[in-house]
Amino acid sequence: MIDTEPHLADLLEARKARRAMPPYVPQSDAAVEGLLSVYFAMHEPGAVVGDVARLGGGASKEQFVFSLTDRSGDATRYVLRMDALEGITETSRVREYEILRAMDGVVPVPRPAWIDANAHHFPQPALIMEWVDGTPKPSTITLSVTGLGTVLGDPLRGLIRPQYLELLSRIHNFEWRSANLPSFAAPDADPKQATRWLIAFWKELLEQDAVVREPVLRLATQWLEANVPDCDDPRLVHGDFRTGNYLFDEVTGRITAVLDWEMSHIGDIHADFGWLLQPVFGTKIDEVFRVSDIFEGAEDFIAAYEAVSGNHIDRAKLHYFAVFNAWKSYILVAALGMRAAREQHNHQDVLLTFLAATGPMFVADLARLLSEGDAA
C-alpha cells in the first residue's frame, strides 16, 4: 500500500483495475436523463427531471445540468458531475462531496446534494450539486476550454482581487479539525507527513501512467523526496484556485462560487502558492505577468495575501512547492492525460492531447528550479 492518505491509497489501487477496460463511451443527454429519472424516483419520489444538457469546459469529468421539479411545482437546477474511466486527474467524488459540504457557508460553493460514490446507480462515481449562477470567464472570450490564460481585464481585476484574497484566506484559515471530513486524513505523525503523503500519491500516479521516462522528472522526484520541508501547521489547501475555477457575476464582479475542490487536501499552504504562481495559470501582457490575471507578479500576490490572511509565506518552502507543482503539472498533462487519451478512457481525448503540449513548459520550469539548488 502506498504511504499516502488511506482514502487516496485505496483510490490508487482501484484505478489499476480500470486500465484494462474497453474505450469509454460518453453519456448521451437522453441516457443521462434516463439515469437521473430512475435515481430520483428512488430518492425524491414524485420529482420530475427535465432540461438535461451537457456542460462544456473542464478536462476530467462529464458534467450535465438539469432541472428537478418537485411535487409542488418548484424547479431547482442541479449539476451532475460524473467520472470518466480515467482523466487528467485522479480524485474522489466522496472527498469533493465532503469538502463542499464543509465549506458551505464559509466561502460560496455549489451546495452538494446527492452522491453515488461507488457507482451503484450511475455508470461511474457521481456527485450532484446545486447550480450556481455566474461565469468563469468574461463573455468576450469565446473559446477557453480550460480557463488557462483567461484575461479578466479591467475593471474585473480590481473588483475580484479583494474577494479572491478574502476567500483564499478563509480557505487556508478554515478550522478543518472540527469539520466533518472523514475521508481526509490528518497528517499528524510528524511534520513531514503531509507533504510526504502528497509526494507519494503523485509519484505513484507517475509510475502507473508515465508514457515516457523523462530524465528531468526522475531528478525532480528524487529531489522532492530528499528535501521534504516541515509543515508544522497543516491547513486546508484548495489545490486549484485559479481564475477559471471560480464563478463571478460579470456585471458586479461578485464571486458567486469557488469550484474545483477535487485536489483539496490537508497540508502545506505553500502548495497553493506554488500552483497559482506557475506561468501557465497567469497571463503575460506587455511583459507584465499577472497571477490568475489579478496580481502583478508573485510579490504583489504574496504581500497582499499575507496582509489579509495573517499567514506568512516562507520563500524556501515556496521554492520547494514551485518544484512540486511543476512536477505535478507535468504528471497531470503528460502522464495521466496522455495515458487516458491513449487508452480512450475519457470523453475529451482531443483536449487531453492538446493540453499535453504544455509538458515542455513544466520540464523547462523544473530544469530551471532544480538548477537553483535547495532554495531560492
Binding site: K284, F354, T358, P360
Partner: protein, 160 residues
Amino acid sequence: MNPSVEDRLNSVVRAIGGVILPALPESASLAREQAMLAMGHIQIILGQLPATAQFEADEAKDIHRLGTAVAELTTGGVRARSTADALSAMLSHATFAESSSRTRRVQDAINAVLLALVEDGDPDATNAVHATILEHGAARALKDRQWFAAMGFDSDFCTR
C-alpha cells in the same frame, strides 16, 4: 494525382468548420468545443507536418547525446556501473529505426542509471550527471516549447 496528407487534412478542417460546426446548436457546448479543438489540432499539425521527421530525428539525436554523456560520467558501485554499461550497449546497438521509439528506449535506460546512482553512485559522478541532465532538459524543453508554440499556452512564445 494522389491526394497529399496536407490536402486531406485541409479538407477535414473545411468539413468541420464549414459544415459540422454550423450544424451544431449553441447548446451543444462540448461538441462545439471539441470540434473547434479538432480543427485547431489539425491546423497545428499541418503547420508542423513538413518538419515533423526532422524534429523527431533531432530529438533522438539529442537524447543519444545525453545518453552518451550519462554513460561516460557514471561511476560507482555494481548497480551504477551495470546500468551505465547497459545504456552504452543500447546506444551502440540501436537497431530500432523509428526516432520516437529510439528516444523512449534511451530515456528508459537513463532512468535506470538515475535510480542506480542513488543506490551506489559516486557523489561527484552523480552531481555531474544531474547537471548534464538539467542542462539537456532546459535546452530540449526550449525546442519543444517552440515546436508547440502554436498551441497558444506558452506566454513566452506567443503574443496576445
